[in-house]
Symmetry: C2
Subunit: 344 residues, 2 copies
DNA sequence: TGTTAGCACTCGATTATTGTGAGTGCTAAT
DNA sequence: ATTAGCACTCACAATAATCGAGTGCTAACA
């Protein structure tokens, strides 16, 4: 779809204006704002064309026009350019991260904080996930009776743990022995290749111990496989200030989105070509609850491998420029700090 | 404050009616509903008295009356009696818990689920906290470089862990040694009494190791002390259906409450005499955001020691009877299942 | 041929007007 | 002490009147 220069310019101004005001924009006000020296009447003609092409709609006859989803998509693809953030903001963000990069948890919540504050929308951050990473070390800790805590540590130094109930009692001594056996094993094999047969070949185990190992391995695999990464969200109430969210039903949708962590997590980690900044506008989202929202996300990596994602949820008339710039910069910061934190 | 029988009865019916309908109740409708065989005019007189006493207010002249906070308080203290739940509901709840009592986490989220479903309000559950419990076992797990995961296990088999960065590198061997040293120590001393002097008396440590122990102990103490227990909440959107929450600002308040986990946690664990069911109505709450809500909470125990809390947030015209009954029963269930889960 | 001034028209939003009805307080009769 | 009767109040809903930003169309103009 190609538009001539003037149409493009007019569309741009309309979108910008609507993003700011949430009011349908009419030809007269527009003619004042955009200094192209063309009269309202001409603009009206152009607007009529743009409407025919599917970029604009009128909420009712004889009102101003508002952009369609198609318009936002065109804007994002063809008009907008990701700006570099102002120097002052950049250093502000950078300093903030320096103050919060001692541990992983705080770094994540700080990221969410910064995102929602800088954009005035709702921020979502996925903590680093262990999926796809190799298990370096396992620690079984006896809790009480037949309950144990399993800690899985990846090559990169990320940890994840679950409590499980086993079929037999496990005391501190036994827990240590089981840990040692599994860790000995991990020196030669990766966890996902640990089969029943291999376990049976271990010499030094009593039948009871062997049975326990058989129970434990699937749990460990599950921990490493399942992507139940923690999802931080901040600035839920930010959206309440926008007129389109004075409707309680919209708010319900938003809350449902944020609470379906599993869905959110999958959505944010799915690829979109090679794009660094992924933008989904309104019904481009598969999730029913997100149909009235736009979501912009990005990911952070360690050593080329995707570790987690973060992004912003807002109205479809979102400030795509600003959010993209912010995400872009924060992505760099995150990559930097995460690798400082985890790799040697 | 004493009311004669008839006033008490009238007040009761008004409150019940208002809780159901959220509409101001007038003398005529009331006279039909309450079968005391008294005319609207008489009721009007009584209502005027009750208004003078501070139990009722009129939103505007010549409208029906609505109960004041004082009325709810009186209702809760003097009128209402906690009913036993219907047999069918009891067995339903009981079965539900049986299906979810293998691990602590699921038990907690199931509790929140059941609470919000049964009451139609917002449920909040505080997971068991380690505070006040004695540390039985400590496990230091090496993550990477100078980062370690510390696991603290209490006498009762609850676990809590944090990641910290230490001043020196800690590998797997060293982590094990440090764990052993601390655990050896724990055989004779409780964690909170571990002082610097005592650490210095340990023989088998190199200066570097001794320094690490000095760093580790405060972290362990902090884990055991601080009450950053996880707060589950469910059914946020339940409240949206009530007419008093069509106002976006009320919703904002609610979300703020649920997000201030620290405050919520303190509020729910603070005692209120020896009451099992604690009821705070509107401005009886210290927290500014809770001034328009009522909150009913209870606690669950292990071996007489309070472990956590749970409760329900709703409008001040909350169904105090039903919620109290539900909390009362769930409390028993929780006590039962938690002790099954944790103690021998 | 593209642009613009002019004009009649549209329609949501705002304000004013009027009923309607559930409710009240007061008084007088029971 | 209770109640029927009555005049009065006031939020709420429905209807009508007004306003104004915006439109489409036509004719004139560069």
């Amino acid at each position: 779809m190609e538009l001539n220069v003037r149409k493009k310019k007019i569309l741009e101004v309309i979108i910008r204006d609507y993003i700011n005001t949430a009011e349908p924009v009419g030809s007269r006000t527009l003619s004042k704002r955009c200094n192209l020296g063309i009269s309202p009447a001409t603009i009206r003609n152009e607007m009529a064309d743009l409407e025919e092409l599917g970029f604009l709609v009128q909420p009712h006859t004889s009102s101003g026009r508002i952009p369609t989803q198609q318009a936002y998509r065109y804007y994002v693809d063809e008009i907008m350019e990701i700006q570099k953030l102002e120097k002052m903001i950049r250093t502000d963000i950078h300093r903030g991260f320096l103050d919060h990069n001692t541990e992983l948890g705080p770094t994540m919540s700080h990221t969410a904080q910064v995102l929602s504050q800088l954009t005035n929308y709702t921020a979502v951050v996925l903590a680093p996930r262990v999926t796809n990473f190799n298990c370096k070390h396992v620690q079984i800790v006896s809790l009480i009776k037949n309950r144990v805590l399993m800690v899985v540590v990846t090559q990169e130094g990320m940890a994840k743990n679950i409590e499980v109930t086993l079929s037999q009692e496990v005391d501190t001594i036994l827990a240590l022995k089981l840990s040692n056996v599994i860790n000995g094993f991990l020196k030669n094999t990766i966890l996902s290749e640990m089969s029943s047969d291999l376990i049976d070949q271990i010499q030094e185990l009593s039948p009871a111990e062997s049975k326990l190992i058989h129970e434990i391995i699937p749990h460990l695999k599950k921990v490493l496989m399942e992507d139940a990464s923690e999802v931080h969200s901040t600035g839920l109430t930010n959206l309440f200030n926008y007129p389109e969210f004075s409707d309680v039903n919209k708010i319900k949708q938003l809350i449902n989105i944020v609470q379906e962590k599993q869905v959110l997590s999958e959505m944010m980690t799915s690829k979109d070509g090679n794009r660094i900044i992924r933008i989904k506008i309104g019904s481009e989202n598969d999730n029913e609850n997100l149909k009235d929202f736009s979501i912009i996300t990005s990911t952070y990596e360690l050593d080329g491998e995707m570790m987690g994602a973060f992004g912003v949820i807002g109205p479809t008339r979102m400030n795509y420029d600003n959010v993209s710039s912010v995400l872009n910069y924060i992505r760099n910061e995150l990559n930097l700090h995460i690798s400082n934190l985890l790799m040697k």
